[in-house]
């Protein structure tokens, strides 16, 4: 049987070649499937590796790599992408000009100035919507305009006035080189808070506030690095000794987007004479912060505008 196989595969050449030592064992006995107990398993898998006597010549045989559709497609990806970009550029200016397009990130990247904040804008960002009347904090009474559909409506004039005041304070503190901390723990606050911190050259916090960061700053923030800067925010050498012995920094102003989830932070600020600004909803306590902004804390469009 084995000799026949050799002939089929390699014809005359194999027969004329001297039989090598490795073929000796293949000539002596035929192999069968292993043991009666494994028969059923072998039948299931339909394998006959046991029966095959692989010749060394066939072992080294490697079929040439076929150029399949998949490999062909991958090779032209870069070319097709460049072409599509080129077409996009060429055709972008064709067709009608849409004047007032809405981009969701617009209020993030280009937030309105305090003078551009109108009551219509505040209403459009749903800042007048308070919570259910049964969940209100009576200290907010002065900010509420009325009730509609079971919720309190915050007076937009009050919101605008407080927002403008808060903006002025942020501007003043930033002008004097104070350190402003923007805090927003909810999932949608990350971008607003980081961009606001970038614009004000302050700090951001979009994860949980670690309790004791101000009162126990030496332990918690001791390893975070600080530097000495001058009037124009350029780094000044020569303060290395001071930097080494300095334990931690405290913010000069804290702007919080969700005070209800940040009581510990606001309490610590109160203990350390750090003024705070926060968006106070109808169920929040306005005495928690120095400068409340009565508005809806559940809408992210508003938070972008506030920042």
């Amino acid at each position: 049987m084995i000799l026949r196989n050799v002939a089929i595969r390699h014809g005359r050449k194999a027969l004329t070649a001297p039989i090598q030592r490795s073929y000796l064992r293949s000539l002596s006995t035929e192999t069968e499937s292993i043991g009666p107990s494994i028969d059923t398993h072998a039948q299931d898998t339909q394998s006959n590796e046991v029966g095959i006597n692989q010749l060394h010549l066939t072992q080294s045989f490697v079929p040439p790599a076929k150029r399949t559709k998949k490999t062909k497609a991958l090779a032209t990806v870069a070319r097709d992408y460049k072409l599509s970009k080129l077409i996009e550029r060429k055709t972008a200016k064709l067709g009608s000009v849409v004047d007032r397009t809405y981009e969701p990130y617009d209020s993030l990247v280009n937030p309105p100035y305090p003078k551009d904040v109108t009551l219509e804008l505040l209403m459009a960002s749903q800042s007048h919507m308070g919570h259910s009347t049964s969940l209100w904090n009576p200290a907010n009474q002065r900010y509420i305009y009325g009730i509609r559909q079971g919720i309190h409506i915050i007076s937009l004039e009050v919101t605008a006035a407080h927002l403008r005041r808060a903006a002025k304070i942020v501007e003043g503190v930033a002008y004097h080189g104070g350190l402003i901390l923007f805090v927003g723990n909810r999932p949608g606050h990350t971008e607003c808070v980081t961009l606001a911190a970038q614009m004000a050259k302050g700090c951001h916090l979009f994860e949980k506030w670690i309790p004791g960061s101000i009162t126990n700053g030496e332990q918690i923030l001791g390893k975070c690095r600080i530097k000495a800067v001058g009037v124009h925010d350029e780094e000044i050498p020569g303060f290395e000794e001071k930097l080494e012995e300095w334990t931690s920094l405290k913010p000069d102003l804290v702007v919080c987007m969700n005070p209800l989830e940040n009581y510990v932070l606001l309490h610590e600020c109160g203990l350390n004479d750090i003024p705070t600004i926060a968006v106070i909803d109808t169920n929040a306590d306005p005495t928690w912060v120095t400068y409340p902004i009565p508005a809806n804390d559940d809408r992210y469009v508003l938070s972008e505008e506030i920042n």
Partner: protein, 346 residues
């Protein structure tokens, strides 16, 4: 910063900064504090019952006459954090995460391959990152970074920008474990193949060469080495199962452990060496069960119970898999690995 430099609308808001923070050349001169403005705003409130700090006390809007007093006040320097993520207490990690998110947002529209087709990369393990950053970053948080890296890695290599490549390089592991390939066992010039095997604490080295079926273990024959027939069979099970006992010679060195351990170690060693001669036997050797199977079947057919038809769907590995079992350690509170002292009610 002189008061004269300030714009008008901010002059009233000059605040005595805490001396600990700002380094002032000369101390502030005594000023006569003018009365604060008596204007009332719609935003002013007098409630001070809460936890909030008091409002910023401005010196008064009519303090513009005191310009000269502020002329000597110059701020040399102020202390600021190096990173805007200072108050997160993990600034390095937060900055890394933010920068990766920015990069992803920028290059989100580039063509992407399927997750399985992306090049396989070993990312920095958490411990290494912790040491590099010097912060105790939680695993769940680090996985966020890994998720972004994997998404960036899917960008097609022909259009991947340099910034992305640099960002990925920073988080790649020093070594690439996927490049490591196992060294195959070769048959040398004399026709010998060396296979090594281990079981419990025994190690065996077996040289398998084509021959007539002689087996020597530590210079002795199989019968001399192993008193148990079972051990003798399992030592050369790889050859026995494939019916090649008369085709190969085995010369083995075994040390460590006891008789059965040495015999099982030999099983693996001989199997590996045999595969060097005949690689096609691998599935056959894998399915063959040296120990559990034939002892189980013996008990089954020899038992006094009636014939049972069993469908054996699960097969343990045969001669190819290294048996990982070892002696379990003794634990405190137990007499041995599992045995516990007798339970006493009181």
């Amino acid at each position: 910063m002189k008061a004269a430099w300030l714009p008008h609308h901010l002059r009233g808001s000059l605040r005595c900064s805490r001396p600990t923070r700002a380094f002032i050349a000369k101390p502030l001169k005594q000023r006569i504090l003018l009365n604060a403005s008596t204007k009332t705003f719609s935003t002013s409130s007098t409630s001070s019952a809460g936890i909030a700090a008091p409002e910023i006390k401005f010196p008064g809007s009519e303090s513009r006459g005191g310009e000269g007093d502020y002329g000597d006040t110059i701020f040399y320097a102020r202390l600021v954090p190096e990173s805007p993520s200072y108050f997160t207490s993990q600034p390095t990690f937060t900055d890394d995460l933010l920068s990766l998110q920015t990069i992803l947002r920028k290059y989100a529209a580039l063509p992407v391959v399927k997750p399985g087709d992306a090049p396989r990369v070993a990312w920095q393990p958490l411990m290494t990152y912790r040491q590099a950053a010097g912060e105790a970053v939680k695993s769940a948080k680090y996985q966020k970074i890994i998720a972004i890296l994997q998404r960036l890695n899917q960008i097609h290599h022909s259009v991947m920008p340099r910034a992305v490549k640099q960002a990925l390089e920073k988080f790649k592991r020093d070594i690439n474990p996927f490049v490591n390939a196992a060294r195959p066992i070769k048959v040398d010039q004399f026709g010998r193949a060396l296979g090594a095997g281990r079981r419990k604490t025994s190690t065996a080295r077996a040289w398998v060469v084509e021959g007539t079926g002689e087996v020597l273990v530590n210079g002795k024959t199989l019968a001399d080495t192993f008193g148990r027939i079972h051990d003798r069979e399992s030592a050369v099970w790889a050859l026995k199962a494939t019916e090649r006992l008369d085709k190969y010679n085995v010369w083995a060195l075994v040390q460590g452990g006891g008789t059965t351990g040495q015999a099982e170690a030999l099983t693996l060693a001989v199997a590996k060496a045999l595969l060097a001669h005949e690689p096609a036997l691998k599935p056959a050797l894998r399915r063959g069960e040296p120990d559990t199977m034939h002892t189980y079947l013996n008990t089954l057919f020899n038992s006094s119970e009636g014939k049972k038809v069993l469908l054996l769907t699960h097969f343990l590995a045969g001669c190819i898999t290294r048996d990982p079992r070892k002696v379990e350690r003794k634990k405190p509170g137990h007499r041995k690995a599992r045995k516990m002292p007798a339970w006493v009610k009181r």
